[in-house]
Symmetry: C2
Subunit: 287 residues, 2 copies
Amino acid sequence: VIGRLAVFGVGLIGGSVALALKAKGSVGEVIGFDRSQAVLHEARSLGVVDSHAPQYVASVAGCDVILLAVPVGQSGLILEAIAPHLAPNTLVTDVGSTKDDIIGTARRALGEKIGQFVPGHPLAGGEKHGPKAAHADLFLGKKTVLTPLAENTSEFVERATHLWEDCGASVVVLESAAHDAALASVSHLPHLLAYALVAQVARSSDALLKMSLAGSGFRDFTRIAASSPEMWCDIALANRKQLLAELEAYEGLLASLRTRLLAEDRDALFALFDEASRTRSDWESRQ
Amino acid sequence: VIGRLAVFGVGLIGGSVALALKAKGSVGEVIGFDRSQAVLHEARSLGVVDSHAPQYVASVAGCDVILLAVPVGQSGLILEAIAPHLAPNTLVTDVGSTKDDIIGTARRALGEKIGQFVPGHPLAGGEKHGPKAAHADLFLGKKTVLTPLAENTSEFVERATHLWEDCGASVVVLESAAHDAALASVSHLPHLLAYALVAQVARSSDALLKMSLAGSGFRDFTRIAASSPEMWCDIALANRKQLLAELEAYEGLLASLRTRLLAEDRDALFALFDEASRTRSDWESRQ
């Protein structure tokens, strides 16, 4: 049981962790921090957090666990602010979609206290934002990836593991680079592609006609293009090395598809479509 | 009211037209044709069609309307087969996802009877196939695009319009080239991109790890990659000119995104993500 938990960013993810741990009886008190006072008050009135002390970062000194649930680009400032106040037994963990970047940031900000930081990434979310969207079941049956550091003691890793298991998630342990490469492929690149497709339609001279003829395929393919541009800029930049590698490979694949189309090479086109269709159907059946 | 309707291809689309017109009382008898005898028997036992006469294409002579609901690549053979048997008052229409290609095919196959062919494309569908998936409400509230030919009399266009309105669809009239360009942009290109993304993941050395970390974003983005490879090869090839134009523009956009990522140009990246996000949200709110 966590005596006192500090949550930075009381939106969908941070709020849902607080609610899940409360529902499980795994936390005594939750202190909320947020750059928005309105969001903070909303979270408190909804019972997502028990108290808030945005001006008093020093209050993290009394916390057993500090959870960073803010956009990737904001984590650095928070880590620097809390570093001087960290008690030796306080676990710091995060929920960011990229890991190598935040690990570098944390090393700079926490210095010798880096062993207290266990990087994490729950594979859960949704298009809805804010504390109102938070709910105790968000992580149920989902995976959370932890990418422990060489400096982490097994005790700290176990505490992070229990936190996520108490939220209903199953924990997967990976190297941070493997995490970032995998997510670049199945999440970050698709977001970039969906944004680009919608931008291309929007910029065409007959955008309104096109959009009026768009159906369910367009709706599903572009759903992630409605995601927060700020959050996804942060992620794309934080993981740009891996994302660029995936993007370049994808550009190569598109060029080869273009060649097949130009040559009207039905067999070669079919081979790729068929491979993808089988892979996708197999994946669906394993979910 | 249509006295006798011939439906070539008694799957999801053809079967749903038959069921919708029957439910509305707008058709007397439905004769089914299909390359698969098993599908044909299934359609008959489900009451989707009233009779079938696959060996007797000559029986279309007694039909008021002939609906082609087969993959784009098969329409040519059928049009050639029925051409000699077409009575002067028989309306021929289709449901293909591309229009310029089928119009060229129809001109060659029907010759002087081309005025009897009114090209159409209902913007409805789903991942499920076959007569079992067909239902009378499939087109309710959906659009059907008609791309009439100069040779069509207004009477023939009106009959095609009424057919789709009786199915519950609203009819949009467009030039075939405008239809093909719009669909290349909002449907055909997204399919190509989704197939390519899944193929890229499948071909990577750590495909299983990647797929195990794929979440709801991947699921929605790649849903259309589970579509029939045969059908989408036909569509991609039939509409390759417009699809190639969209693909080349998209490759240019990806190249510019890559440059922005390399330069860590957050403002330029944000501008595109934000434009796309607003466009997508506006579109959703209009649905």
